[in-house]
C-alpha cells in the first residue's frame, strides 16, 4: 500500500463525500486506496476534521431528505420538497416601511419597564431616574458629546433594568454570584429562559484599546458571547433569548469575564467567573 499525501487525501475525501454513506463506511473499507486514505487520516488532524465536517453535512442532508415510512402527502409541503420558495415581493416594501416606522436602532425593551415588585428593581429604577435628572440638570453646561454619552448610559441602564425586571418576574429564574479569582463575591448573573443579566461594580473601566469580554466555557473551550458595557461605575451585560438561542448551558458550563485587547483573539485569565450549572 503506497502512502497517500495530504493533497491526494483531501481530493479523495471530497470524492467520497459525494456518495452518501461512503465516508461513514470508510472505517470498515478494505479497498486498498481507502485503506491508504485511512492510514493517512490516522496521523492527520486536518484530514480528520475534514472528514468530520463532511459527515456533518452528510448527516444533515440525510436527516432533511429522508422520506417518511408511512404514506406520502402528510405534510403540506411534501416531505422531500426542495423547490425554491421566495419571500413575497411585497414583503420587502413592507419591511422598509416598518424599519422607517421603527426609527433608529433603539433597544426595544427600554419601553417595557414594569412597576417594581422586588427589592432589586426599585434600586435599579432609582439609578435610571437619578441619571435622567443629572442629564436634565446638566443639559445646559454639558458638551454635546458628554450629553450624548450620558443619554446612552441612561438608555443602557434602562435596558438592563428592563431585562432584570423580566428575569425577576418570570416563574423560574436563577441568580448566581460572580466571583473574583480569590473567590470573593463581585456581582451577580441572573437568568430566566428569556433573558440573562450580568451586573458588577467590581470592574475598573478598561484602558483604551481594551475591553471586558464575556464568554462561556465548556470543557476548556471558550465561546465569546458579548462584551461588558458601563453605566457609571456599574458594568453590565444583558441579552435576550434571541441572542442566546443557539447557546446551550450544561452542568459544567462556566461563565467568565476577561480583560482583552480590542483586536485580540481572547484567552486572557478570567477576572470574574461563575459556575452556571451549580
Amino acid at each position: 500500500m503506497n502512502p497517500m499525501d495530504h493533497a491526494e487525501a483531501h481530493e479523495r475525501i471530497a470524492d467520497l463525500a459525494i456518495e452518501p454513506g461512503r465516508l461513514t463506511a470508510l472505517a470498515a473499507s478494505n479497498v486498498p486506496e481507502e485503506e491508504a486514505l485511512l492510514a493517512h487520516i490516522s496521523g492527520c488532524p486536518d484530514c480528520t476534521a475534514e472528514i468530520a465536517s463532511w459527515r456533518e453535512t452528510h448527516d444533515a442532508l440525510t436527516a432533511a431528505l429522508r422520506r417518511p415510512a408511512g404514506p406520502q402527502g402528510l405534510e403540506p409541503d411534501g416531505p422531500a420538497s426542495v423547490e425554491p420558495i421566495r419571500a413575497p415581493a411585497g414583503l420587502r416594501d413592507g419591511m422598509l416601511a416598518a424599519v422607517r416606522g421603527a426609527g433608529i436602532a433603539v433597544p426595544e425593551h427600554v419601553a417595557v419597564v414594569r412597576p417594581p415588585r422586588r427589592l432589586l428593581r426599585p434600586a435599579l429604577l432609582g439609578m435610571v431616574a437619578v441619571l435622567a435628572l443629572v442629564i436634565a440638570g446638566a443639559g445646559y453646561r454639558l458638551q454635546d458629546e458628554r450629553l450624548q454619552a450620558a443619554r446612552a448610559e441612561e438608555a443602557a441602564l434602562g435596558t438592563v433594568t428592563a431585562a432584570l425586571d423580566r428575569v425577576l418576574a418570570s416563574d423560574t429564574f436563577e441568580v448566581v454570584p460572580l466571583r473574583r479569582p480569590d473567590g470573593t463575591a463581585a456581582g451577580s448573573i441572573s437568568w430566566s429562559r428569556q433573558d440573562i443579566v450580568v451586573l458588577t461594580a467590581a470592574l475598573e473601566p478598561p484602558m483604551a484599546g481594551q475591553e471586558y469580554r464575556c464568554w462561556l466555557e465548556n470543557e476548556g473551550q471558550r465561546t465569546p458571547i458579548g462584551r461588558m458595557e458601563y453605566a457609571g461605575d456599574v458594568a453590565f451585560w444583558a441579552a435576550s433569548l434571541d441572542e442566546w438561542a443557539t447557546i446551550s448551558i450544561g452542568p459544567e458550563t462556566r461563565f467568565g469575564v476577561s480583560l482583552e485587547a480590542v483586536a485580540g483573539s481572547g484567552g486572557s485569565p478570567a477576572v470574574l467567573d461563575a459556575a452556571l450549572g451549580s
Binding site: A60, A80, A105, W244, I247
Partner: protein, 234 residues
Amino acid sequence: MTVDRDRRHDATLAAGIAAGEEAQFMVVYDRHADLLFASVVRLLGDRDTAAEIVQESFLALWRRASQYDSRAGSLIGWLLAIARNRAIDHLRAQSRRPVLTSISVAGDANGQLDALDVLDLQARRVDGPGVAPADPATVADRRWSQSVVRSMISELPETERQAVVLAYAAGLSQAEIADRLGWPLGTVKSRTRRAMAHLRVRLAEVPDLVDPAAARRRDPSTPVADRATFGTER
C-alpha cells in the same frame, strides 16, 4: 440561486445597521430573506404567518444590531435563531387551540390534533413504527433543522438540486443518477461536488443544525441536567 453582488461581509453590514443605515439593512434583507421565509414556510405551512415572522426577525435585527457579535456566530445563524423561536412560539400558541386537520388518525377526544401533535406524528412517520415518540420540543427542533436544510438545498441551481435529491432522498448512486437523468457520469459528479461544497459552507454558518453536541443536549434521552437551562426554548 439569488445573485448577491454586494461583497461586504455580514458583520460589516451589521455595524452599519447599528448606525441606522437603511441601505445596508436592505442588503442583508435581500441576502437572507428567502432562506428565512422558506424555512418558516416549510415548518408552519403558512405563508402569511411566515411573512410576519420574517418581518419581526428583521425588525429585531434593525433594533438590536449593536448587540450582534460576529465572534459568537454568523448573522444568518442569528436571524434563523430569532425566526425559529418565533415560529415555535406560534406552534405552541396553535397547540393551545385545536386546529382542523385532514389527517385521519386518532387525536384528542374530538379526534382533532393540535399543531405539535401533527409535528410529532410526522416525526414518527419518519422514524418509523415502534420508535418511541420524542417530546414536542425535540420534534420541533428536528423539523426546524429539516426545514432550514431543505431551504438551503432549494437555493441550489436546479441541476445540482436534482443530483443531491436523487442521492439523498432516493438513495441512488452517482452511476444510477447518471442513468436516470441521461447525464455523463463526470457531469453528475461535478454537479454533486459543487452542490455539496456549497451546502457544507452554508451549514457551517448555522452550527446548531449540525452540531452533534448541541443536538445531544436537546435529546430527551440526555439527563435533564445536561440540557440547556435557558436560551434554547421558551
